[in-house]
Each structure stands twice: as structure tokens, then as C-alpha cells.
Symmetry: C2
């Protein structure tokens, strides 16, 4: 099948760039040093390529991601790096033989883990991003509470999300260190082997965590691409020009329902994007470009994670050739 | 089933508000005066409530929406108000007995309609929004071309999307009139019965079109709610507080993957939203409010259409009672 045979809009992944990204990361953070975050791509076929490179533990953001990874035979060590108040579905996954570890950051979430039949937890520690995670000084107490409920406490996690896109390298390093000092202090109180943290934006800086939770590196987006990372933008949204105007603009059939918009508009190569509607992107040709009805466009989304969540499948391609089609099988909750 | 039994995040529709919205619109634009746009809700169960109120023709934005509506027995008169370059799937739907009308705005899209087995078209006319639609002066020529290919030309459509959220009523009316004068001029050249236009934002002002393509009115969102329309916000995203901080913020389990973000952050009743992440919204209590882990939150999305596209189902509720669960069965392309 050729690229031009695909329904538009469609997610398209350039195989050589994907494999290059996977290889660069596997060299930088081999094996268990990386716990890839599946929320970035929500596709077990892609997770399998990571497992084949030695990363056999994964990070998840939703119960559905845990269920889907286990069902795909990728349940060797799944960390749900998020709080849940009803852990019964996770307990059911663990009962099938998958290893499921759940983040907890409060008495209530510890109790939910125990009540749901989850056996292993990490204490989620707030390291500066105003989101989940307990106060570092409270981590030891929560670990004791968890153990008193019969839970195995594997260690700590803490996400320095606010540092991911810091531009100045020295500043990024300094801020990462400050966050990880909080996490290591909590780790000393909590015990266990795991110090899980980081992401694509800090995978080089964060040398304190025992494992890095990066996911976006494999496909990338325009926001991360601006951060000077050694990863290529492997994901594009394939669209077609469906209308052109004598006044000079063109319209392609991708829009708010095929693009995560929280980081802004997509980038259309050779075009200047004006705005996106539900199923349309209006743009004008850059420089002396010309767009005609029927032209294929490969737009780069500004934010990969929510873009992928909108699609049922992604196509692995090599130039014009469609090699494989993968279901985006970890969507929903 | 109770609201508290629902998995979060979930789409929740308050039945009384939905029915009130449907009734207000059915009174204002009875029967065929309204051609509801299914892109706003992507749910055949909800479309059926509209058909029961006499609106038996529908507007669609994607081929999948046309297929799904026909498969649900709602194919009496489906208008795909968008251009496509491969109309074969639409021809296949028409061959099953559904009535399928396709928008065309260029020689190429006319030819695609004929080649795909579609039998009826409307000429899509640009009335000011820089998106699809031919120049009004070219509409007659395109109609002739379409007829020469054996297509039935039912009339014209033109969407005054840039007028939907104009604040000043007199200005909105004046701009709507300017747009519709272009469309009526094209209609005179094209012939046919249909003059299809408008949306929730101009359903009162647009008295020139023979039918209005409104969809958002049934569920509404915070953007349209600010426009002074007589429709209530019937759709919320149900979420749970999963974490709170001693510094005062709270975190609920809805985020970029459960909310359309192109119009900005959601509104959390009783809270001030700080930011959204993939699966989280961080907010602080407004005034003297207190949020505890486990609390249910019913957030109002800023833009309903792309929010719904992220969900597999929506729940019809009456207060705390879950009455029905509807699949969002028109997603994808």
C-alpha cells in the first residue's frame, strides 16, 4: 500500500526516524535505566519495539494502558504513575500474573491500592510541579502506612515536569538536581530500590533517578523538537488539500479532531498555518510554494500525546510505502 | 447506576438540560428548517432525539459520520458539508438506500463525487470564512459541470463560521446578512431548493438560509455559553479529585486527553484552573471552597466538539442517577 492510498487524516510514522530515536535512547539509557512511558504513543506494537531493545518495564498513565499492555504480553513490570481511587481493575490485572505497581500519594490512595488487590506501590513525591505527589517529608509515613496494609513498597517516583522545556542547559541541570534532591531525601525515608523520575526533556540531566520515564522521544513533536534533543520528528499527520482559494489560501483535511491543540497549531511544511477548525486547517503557501487540491501534506503536530489519543491507528511508512498499520490500542480509560 | 459509580473521566449529559435545548431549538427552527450537525456530538442516540423532534435531515463533517448515521437508520437525508477527494465510501452508503448529498467546491471535487457514485451534491460557496467553498461567481459554472457529470445539484451551502461568536448583536446580524447575500447570489446561479448555512451562533440571525446547520446547541460549551444563547451547558466531564496539596491546590483526573483544548482550559465549578496535563487538571479552590481526595468534579469543557471526539461513550444522567450510556459511535474518519 502507498501513502496516497491512506484515508486522511491519518497518523504516519517514518520507520527510519522511529528506529533511530529508539536506538539513540537505548544507547543512552539501556535496559531498565529506561521505563518508557506508553502514554506518549498508546500503541502496544510500538511498545514491543522498545521491549525488544531491552526496556521491559513500562510506565502507564491510565488503568486502560495497564490493562492493554498486560493483555499484549508486555506486563513484566508495569508502573501506573498516577493516583487512582478504585484499583480493582488493576488488582484484576495483577491476578492474571502481570506485575502491577501503583503510585500512591495519600492515605486514601494507599487504602484504594490495598482494597483493590494491588500488591506493590511506589510513593509519589511532589518535587516541584504543582500536580500529584506527597510532600517529601510525608513520604516515609505513607510508606509505613502502605506496609501496614500489606503492600510492598518498591520505592519512590517524582516527576520534574516543569523542567522538561527549560531552555538554558545549566538552568535545566540545576533545577533537575534540586528536584531529585527532594526525591532522594524521600527515598531515604521510604526505602526500596526504585527512584523513578524524568522524561524526554531531562533524560540526559537526570542522573539521580534509577530509571527514566520518557515516552515522547520515540515520535517527538514540534514542542520537544525545539528543545535541542537528539531525536527526530517521526510522527506526522497525513492530510490532503481539499480546497484552494484564488486569494491564496489552501485547506487540508486535518483539524481540532485529529490534532492535540494545547501546544498550538500544527506545522505544515511549505505552509504558514492560519487556523484550525474541527476537520480543517487553513494555511497559505510559504515563499513561492503552490498547493493544489489533492496534494498530500504531512503536518507536524505541536503535541504528540493528545494527537495520538484522537486516532484509532497509526501507519508505519518508509517514504511512500506503507509497511504496517498498528492499532492505537491503549486509548480511553 | 449512580454518578459516583462511573469511571472517570467520563462525559456526562444532564437529561433535563439536553431536552430543554432540543425543545428550544425545535420550536425556533422546526422540522427541516434545522439540519442538525452531528459533528458536535458524534452520537447516533442523540441524533435520534433530534429526529424524533422532526429534524430528519442531518449535516455531517466526515465520511464516517455519514456511514454511522446511515447504519443507525438515520439516513433519510445526510449532507456531508465538506469536500472529499475519494467519494467511493459515500457512493457505497448511497447504494444502500440512504440519501447522501456531498459538498463540492472545485472541478476536482465534482469529479470525485461523480466517480465515487454519489448522486447528489450542493455547491459549497465561500461566504467570508477563509476555508472551503468556491468563489460565489464560480458557483453557477460548477453546478453546470456537476450536472454535465450526471449529478443532481440540490442547491448551495456556505458557512459563516467567522460570525458565530461576534458579540454585538447588530454587528452579528449585519455580517450574517452580508454573507448570505453572497450565498443567495450563488443560489440564483446554481438553482435547486437548498440554501444551507448557519450554526448555533447565528441560528436566530440567519433568516436567509432555508436550513440551519447547528449542532453545538444541544450540549453547549463555555465558549458558546458566553454568547448569550438560550441554551444550557448540558455536557460536563466528570472527574475525581485524586490528589490535594498542603499548599492548597487540588488535582482532578481529567486533562488534555479528555478535553478539547483549542478554546482553552475547562471550567471547574468552585475552582480556579491552573493548567491541564495529559491526564490531570490542577486547580485551586475559589473563595472558601475545600476539595478532598475522592470528590467528584463536573468540569465544563471550553469546546464541546473536540472534547466529545476523545471519548468512547457519554452517560445521560439526571442528577446523581445514570439513566443511559450511549456510544460515541461516529468518531474517526
Amino acid at each position: 500500500m502507498k501513502l496516497a492510498d491512506l484515508q486522511t487524516p491519518s497518523l504516519v510514522v517514518e520507520r527510519s526516524l522511529l528506529e533511530q530515536n529508539l536506538d539513540v535512547m537505548a544507547q543512552a539509557l539501556p535496559g531498565r535505566r529506561l521505563r518508557p512511558h506508553v502514554k506518549a504513543f498508546k500503541t502496544t506494537a510500538l511498545a514491543r519495539l522498545m521491549a525488544e531493545r531491552g526496556h521491559t518495564g513500562f510506565t502507564c498513565a491510565t488503568i486502560r494502558e495497564v490493562e492493554g499492555m498486560a493483555a499484549a504480553g508486555l506486563g513484566e513490570d508495569l508502573l501506573l504513575a498516577n493516583e487512582v481511587l478504585d484499583a480493582r481493575r488493576l488488582g484484576a490485572v495483577a491476578a492474571t500474573g502481570a506485575r502491577v505497581t501503583l503510585a500512591v500519594d495519600s492515605d486514601t490512595t494507599v487504602e484504594a491500592a490495598a482494597a483493590g488487590g494491588v500488591r506493590e506501590v511506589v510513593i509519589d513525591v511532589n518535587v516541584g510541579l504543582p500536580r500529584c505527589g506527597c510532600d517529601p517529608d510525608d513520604a516515609g509515613r505513607l510508606a509505613d502506612l502502605a506496609r501496614s496494609k500489606g503492600l510492598e513498597v518498591r520505592g519512590v517516583m517524582g516527576y520534574e515536569g516543569h523542567v522538561m522545556l527549560v531552555e538554558d542547559p545549566a538552568d535545566k541541570l540545576r533545577q533537575t538536581q534540586e528536584c531529585m534532591e527532594k526525591l532522594l531525601k524521600a527515598s531515604a525515608d521510604v526505602g526500596g530500590d526504585l527512584v523513578s523520575a524524568g522524561g524526554t526533556g531531562t533524560y540526559r540531566e537526570n542522573t539521580w533517578a534509577t530509571e527514566i520515564q520518557a515516552g515522547s522521544y520515540c515520535l517527538m513533536d514540534t514542542a520537544y523538537a525545539a528543545a535541542g534533543l537528539p531525536f527526530a520528528q517521526a510522527l506526522t499527520v497525513l492530510a490532503r488539500v481539499i480546497s484552494t482559494s484564488p486569494q491564496g489560501w489552501a485547506v487540508a483535511d486535518l483539524g481540532l479532531k485529529s490534532l492535540g491543540m494545547d501546544h498550538g497549531n500544527p506545522t505544515v511544511p511549505g505552509g504558514l498555518v492560519w487556523f484550525c477548525s474541527d476537520e480543517h486547517t487553513t494555511f497559505s503557501p510559504a515563499d513561492d510554494g503552490v498547493f493544489a487540491v489533492g496534494d498530500l501534506v504531512r503536518a507536524q503536530p505541536a503535541h504528540v500525546d493528545p494527537t495520538i489519543a484522537l486516532h484509532e491507528r497509526m501507519h508505519l511508512v518508509e517514504g511512500d510505502e506503507v509497511l504496517e498499520t498498528w492499532p492505537v490500542d491503549l486509548r480511553g480509560w
